[in-house]
């Protein structure tokens, strides 16, 4: 006699994605439970204090929820967002303090083991987030001399976490540029290693860039229409910061006194070596930005939107090349790896991974019947990467999941 409690669907993770899924399943009267290792919105509670959402408050939309606070054009801090998600999840069937230790396929359905006992279910929705673990290039990290302090964008909190002296920030994503600026303002010499990056201005023609991307349909670009889908899902986050002030692009960092160098490529004779390709990655980013703004201008003209003048951001000024910098002493004494995040699915004992350990899915539907993922970058559309994408992706998965239930009944 198999033991454990039974439910139709187990959702793993009570963040925005898991709770959006729960809301849709509840609307369809699908019996389910949300298992959460910590408390609701757990990941948002562990982020650095200075972190703010890149999306304006009015875009913090979930099924049955819209922001109605006093500052629709502001940007929530991580604690504010955690409170908001907690309020949103109050009615959901969440079991907090319940860590999933394994998910295994059974003759029918799945066995979900937790530290609070097992569950049997016909379907599982993995909603533990795409940014559970910091992704650090292991081969490169292994070359860094002992004594150099390493942090990641996930465990860095404040500048005083790091020893005095020079800091190398690796990666010019949103986290990388924000952390580089914050460290520079704390008075440290900061070197930012810049690989491929996505440059966008905070505001364009008098409106938030995300207003334009939302209105012009950029966020609705579908994954299957991307000319290079692999690349689309692996793009670094947009160089944005959640504040209405000056843009935080490479020109601004250069002006702040951050030393811009090429991709961190290796260590030789106690010196960090940087790629000589900085000019090209800047050219690629400027060209990509130009195409985005062309698309926005085209849409604005067709839709007769009232907007400010189409003043383009100036090209990225590429500083004179710096190809190496010494570690230790007066040189680089600490590193912050802002080299991306990845999911932690070590507990998922179902064969749905590619050779690089990434879960293979089509819009969140895996090859294992009844196993779904939610909240992955560019899961269905560009919007999937944002909180604002959770609702539509969860609705789509709910369609797929309930259709399967009907077939099985």
């Amino acid at each position: 006699m198999p033991s454990g409690q039974r439910t139709t669907t187990v959702i793993v993770g009570a963040g925005q994605s898991g709770l959006a899924m729960s809301r849709h399943l509840a609307d369809r009267s699908v019996d389910h439970v949300v298992l959460e290792r910590g408390v609701v919105a757990n990941s948002w509670r562990s982020r650095r204090a200075s972190l703010r959402l890149l999306t304006p408050n009015w875009m913090t939309r979930l099924p049955g929820f819209a922001y109605t606070g006093p500052d629709p054009d502001g940007y929530l801090s991580a604690p504010q967002l955690a409170r908001l998600i907690s309020g949103y999840g109050e009615a959901a069937p969440v079991l907090t303090g319940t860590s999933v230790t394994s998910v295994r396929r059974q003759a029918t359905g799945y066995l979900v083991d937790t530290d609070q006992g097992p569950w049997r279910t016909s379907s599982v929705v993995v909603a533990t987030g795409a940014a559970a673990l910091a992704s650090v290039p292991a081969g490169l990290a292994a070359q860094v001399p002992a004594g150099v302090v390493s942090r990641t964008a996930a465990d860095y909190r404040v500048p005083s976490d790091l020893p005095p002296g020079g800091v190398l920030v690796v990666g010019a994503s949103a986290s990388g540029v924000q952390i580089a600026a914050e460290l520079r303002r704390s008075g440290r010499p900061v070197t930012l290693a810049v690989g491929e990056h996505v440059r966008v201005p905070r505001r364009y023609r008098g409106r938030d860039i995300l207003w334009w991307m939302d209105a012009a349909g950029v966020l609705d670009d579908r994954f299957e229409d991307q000319p290079d889908p692999e690349r689309a899902r692996n793009l670094p986050s947009m160089q944005l910061v959640g504040s209405a002030g000056d843009p935080l692009d490479l020109n601004a960092l250069n002006h702040l006194g951050v030393r811009l160098v090429g991709r961190f490529a290796g260590v030789r004779d106690g010196c960090a070596q940087f790629a000589g390709s900085l000019a090209n990655v800047c050219a690629l980013a400027d060209l990509k930005l130009g195409r985005l703004l062309d698309r926005i201008d085209g849409w604005a003209a067709r839709a007769s939107v009232e907007a400010g003048r189409p003043d383009r951001p100036p090209p990225t000024l590429v500083p004179a090349p710096v190809l190496s910098a010494p570690f230790g002493g007066d040189g680089i004494r600490s590193i912050v790896w802002a080299t991306g995040f990845r999911p932690d699915l070590s507990w998922l004992d179902v064969d749905v991974f590619d050779r690089r350990g990434r879960v293979v899915h089509d819009g969140g539907v895996t090859a294992a019947p009844g196993l779904y993922v939610l909240g992955m970058p560019f899961q269905r559309t560009r919007r999937s990467t944002l909180i604002d994408g959770a609702g539509a992706d969860a609705r789509e998965l709910t369609e797929r999941l309930t259709r399967r239930l009907v077939l099985a009944a």
């Binding site: 070596q273 090209n280 990655v281 690629l284 060209l287 195409r291």
Partner: protein
């Protein structure tokens, strides 16, 4: 709207097909490139390039290629071939130009002419051991393209940028590479 078929002479379908095949059998993507070099006299050597390994088996060029390497008369040499550093410029220009053709083909852009001028600065104090602060290699490399194509300037710049992003020789020149030299 153009109705003519874009043809830059690049079989993009075959290249994309290889990428798909690699996804199914990643080990066939492991290649080894080879060259032999034999000293002739003075600074004159001759390099042969005949075989390579890839797609899980030994491969052979359709012709046995041979290249003379020397230094110019100004170096009191015989100038029987170009210098090794000039081969590096040839390799970079060749790699980027092939990339431009492939990227343009994939983007449906007809090229009419593509000309690159590749130049590199070098301070000979480095290789002569006359100044320890000067490196042996190039202090910088410049590539200037003149491209005539059925595309606007922004599209052409995007092709050139993408070609650098996907270029092996650009990567080899801009990133460190471990080099092991031994005597057997």
């Amino acid at each position: 709207m153009t109705t003519s078929v874009v043809d830059n002479g690049v079989n993009v379908e075959a290249l994309l097909g290889a990428r798909t095949a690699f996804a199914d059998a990643p080990q066939i993507a492991q290649f080894q490139w080879r060259s032999t070099v034999s000293w002739i006299k003075g600074t004159h050597s001759r390099a042969g390039v005949e075989t390579f390994f890839g797609f899980a088996e030994e491969q052979r060029h359709s012709t046995d290629f041979s290249f003379d390497i020397d230094h110019p008369l100004q170096f009191a040499a015989q100038d029987k071939g170009i210098t090794p550093v000039e081969y590096v410029l040839v390799a970079l220009g060749g790699c980027l130009t092939a990339g431009i053709a492939a990227v343009a083909q994939q983007r449906g852009i007809q090229l009419r002419s593509v000309h690159a001028t590749v130049s590199a600065e070098m301070d000979l104090h480095g290789i002569l051991g006359a100044d320890p602060d000067v490196r042996n290699g190039f202090s910088g490399v410049r590539v200037e393209y003149r491209i005539d194509a059925e595309a606007d300037r922004q599209e052409i710049e995007a092709i050139v940028a993408q070609s650098q992003k996907r270029s092996a020789v650009f990567d080899i020149l801009t990133n460190p590479t471990a080099v092991t030299v031994s005597v057997v």
